[in-house]
């Protein structure tokens, strides 16, 4: 559940409804992307639709929604956005990215251990020694569970590739 704590809202310079505006712009950009990506597909007719018919029809509706939200954000009163913190976002993103890069080239152990370590960096409350110990345990658990018990075909060590 998104919880919006009104007391945490950042006072922004202009009188805009920021959540509406950003969501509207997001939808407009997305529908533009969909139009571009399906531009070479045939549309066909309603009785015999081509592959491009539905995507473009939906993108058109999304464009309408995007314009609506963007327009409304200018008309409505100010609403801010809860402050964005870089650390949790970056920590989780880097952890998942590291896992994706390592899993097939360095094996499950390296990928798991680094994912846990990097993810822990997302929280200020993590303690280094504790995380290393815990990471080793979780990694061992993951290997036992996924490779030994569930027979996931993934290399364990870099040299077992």
């Amino acid at each position: 559940m998104p919880h919006f704590d009104m007391s945490q809202l950042r006072p922004a310079g202009r009188r805009l409804d920021w959540p509406d505006l950003l969501f509207g712009v997001f939808l407009i950009a997305l529908s533009a992307g969909a139009f571009a990506a399906t531009s070479r597909l045939s549309g066909g007719s309603a009785a015999d639709m081509g592959p491009g018919y539905m995507p473009r029809a939906i993108a058109l509706i999304l464009l309408g929604f995007g314009l609506f939200f963007a327009g409304r954000s200018l008309a409505r009163g100010h609403a801010g956005i809860e402050r964005v913190q870089a650390r949790p976002m970056l920590g989780i993103a880097v952890a998942v990215g590291a896992f994706a890069l390592l899993i097939e080239d360095a094996g499950l152990v390296a990928a798991s251990f680094s994912a846990v370590l990097l993810a822990a960096a997302a929280s200020r409350q993590s303690r280094l020694f504790e995380v290393i110990l815990f990471g080793l345990c979780v990694t061992a658990g993951a290997v036992l569970l996924f490779v030994k018990a569930l027979a996931l075909p993934v290399p364990i060590w870099p040299w077992s590739i």
Partner: protein, 499 residues
């Protein structure tokens, strides 16, 4: 009696040793995850989907269903003891349940919650069994036209009952539908929006989408909040409610069960609406409404019963029509599809052992929950004490391995990462991701049926209005849309869904 034959068939499936075992594993994992605040049932089910691939379809669905209602159960434990709802549906349990706990009556609160849930679960199982046959018979008359209208109704109802702004939820449904068109077009074989990525030719896998948007995005948002939790530590030996407690709780339990069973069937229902409605009703008819929020036992019994009954009857549209009532049921559909079963009205007639096995397992599962929960409440309390700083890195890792494991695809891990970023954006701008997931799962079916219907009618859209069943379904859509635009209903809805 066809009903008894079916229930017997279901019981014979559900009582097989393997299925009992998977049911037990499901409810235990579900409860364990439900107890942990910080990860809801949707990412949990998404996370555990890959584990069920090797199982036969019955066992897979029984286990997933067990996880689902186990999580509902676990959520109330957290709500009562920590005042943090494990998920939306236990938000109201916090109000009086935690108040009771602070008065040193956590034991009776937990016991009443468990008994109410079990009672509601038992009744809901019977309701499902009774409603399934006529609905499935009706559904067999459906052609592409009726099916399209039904899908529209399902998607729209999900929007109405979702939290937050209606217009934003509608936009999210269309966003999901757009994402659902990604992949090879079945009719023409043309690649649509795949950007040359082979992994996208089968369409966007919804498991990484669900895990990213519901799991990782929520973890990121949780980390920003830095909540301090305090577990009410107390003796749980006195679990037995007093006679006065029972007398007050029993009628509330009955009312809650009725509300939950009715509202759970509605598309989009199941999670938030039944407990909120039950709570509002209890407060309204109470002789002394002042007691509510200060430890009134009816405020625990009613919503808990409604919660569990709704959770279970929300399986009805899925099992009989092949339409998910909420995002969680969308994951169940995904599980079916991964087992090679095309969801739809025909599942009931073609896979009776599967459908009735799952229905019967709900009762065995609820019985297990009652037995394992009360004596093991100490264990769940100790799980509550695992600090979040250790919990979340482990969850992140399991999400990674889980998505990767579905098809050994690194692309899915990147996709999950992208969805986490987008999901975090959604949280920041205040939109709910659940309608998107429904759109994504129902999109391909919606398009296929729409195209087929239009082909049959030679491009004449009036076919949706001239066929009676379809016309009725669309009329309901129109009424809902009109109601949504009425300010009075909007205000009521805000009140009902207000946290």
């Amino acid at each position: 009696m066809e009903l008894f034959d079916n229930l017997l068939l279901g019981l014979s499936t559900a009582l097989q040793f393997n299925n009992l075992l998977y049911c037990l594993i499901g409810v235990v994992i579900g409860t364990a995850i439900g107890v942990l605040p910080g990860i809801g049932p949707i990412p949990t089910v998404a996370l555990l989907l890959p584990f069920t691939f090797g199982l036969p379809p019955e066992s897979a669905l029984i286990m997933l269903a067990g996880i689902f209602y186990g999580a509902q159960y676990g959520g109330s434990t957290t709500a009562i003891l920590v005042n943090v709802p494990g998920e939306t549906s236990s938000v109201v349990t916090c109000l009086d349940g935690h108040a009771m706990a602070r008065q040193g009556r956590a034991g009776p609160a937990l016991a009443i919650a468990a008994v109410s849930s079990f009672f509601a679960g038992t009744v809901a199982t019977i309701v499902i069994a009774l409603l399934s046959l006529p609905l499935a018979a009706l559904a067999l008359k459906f052609t592409a036209v009726e099916y399209f209208s039904l899908l529209v109704l399902g998607l729209l109802a999900a929007v109405i009952l979702a939290h937050g702004s209606v217009s934003k939820s509608l936009a999210m449904v269309f966003l999901g539908l757009l994402l659902g068109t990604i992949g090879i077009d079945v009719n023409s074989g043309a690649a649509r929006m795949t950007f040359g990525i082979p992994a996208l030719s089968d369409g966007l896998d919804f498991v990484p989408v669900a895990m990213g948007m519901f799991g990782l995005a929520e973890i990121i948002a949780n980390l920003e909040r830095n909540e301090v939790r305090q577990v009410v530590s107390q003796k749980l030996r006195d679990l037995v409610p007093t006679r006065a407690d029972l007398k007050a709780a029993f009628p509330a339990m009955l009312r809650g069960t009725a509300i939950g069973s009715a509202l759970g069937v509605l598309p989009g229902g199941g999670a938030a609406l039944p407990p909120f409605t039950a709570y509002a009703l209890e407060k309204k008819i109470a002789r002394d409404p002042q007691r509510f929020g200060k430890g009134a036992i009816e405020g625990v019994a009613g919503p808990e019963a409604a919660n569990n009954a709704g959770a279970q009857t929300s399986f009805i549209p899925l099992l009989t029509l092949g339409i998910p009532a909420n995002a969680l049921m969308a994951l169940m559909i995904g599980a079916l599809m991964m087992q090679g079963i095309q969801p739809g009205p025909q599942v009931m007639t073609e896979q009776p052992a599967l459908v009735w096995g799952v229905i019967a397992s709900m009762w065995t599962g609820n019985l297990m929950l009652l037995i394992i929960n009360l004596p093991l409440v100490g264990l769940w309390v100790s799980m509550l004490k695992i600090p979040y700083r250790l919990l979340f890195p482990a969850i992140v890792l399991f999400c990674c391995i889980g998505t990767y494991g579905i098809s050994n695809s690194v692309f899915n891990v990147w996709l999950m990462l992208g969805c986490a970023v987008v999901g975090y954006f959604f949280i920041k701008v205040g939109v709910e991701p659940a309608p998107l997931l429904l759109g994504l799962v129902l999109g391909p079916q919606l398009e296929e049926n729409f195209r087929r219907a239009m082909q049959l009618s030679d491009g004449d859209p009036s076919v949706f209005l001239t066929r009676p069943i379809s016309a009725v379904l669309l009329a309901v859509v129109a009424v809902l849309l009109l109601a949504m635009l009425s300010p009075a209903v909007l205000r009521k809805r805000t009140e009902a869904l207000a946290e």
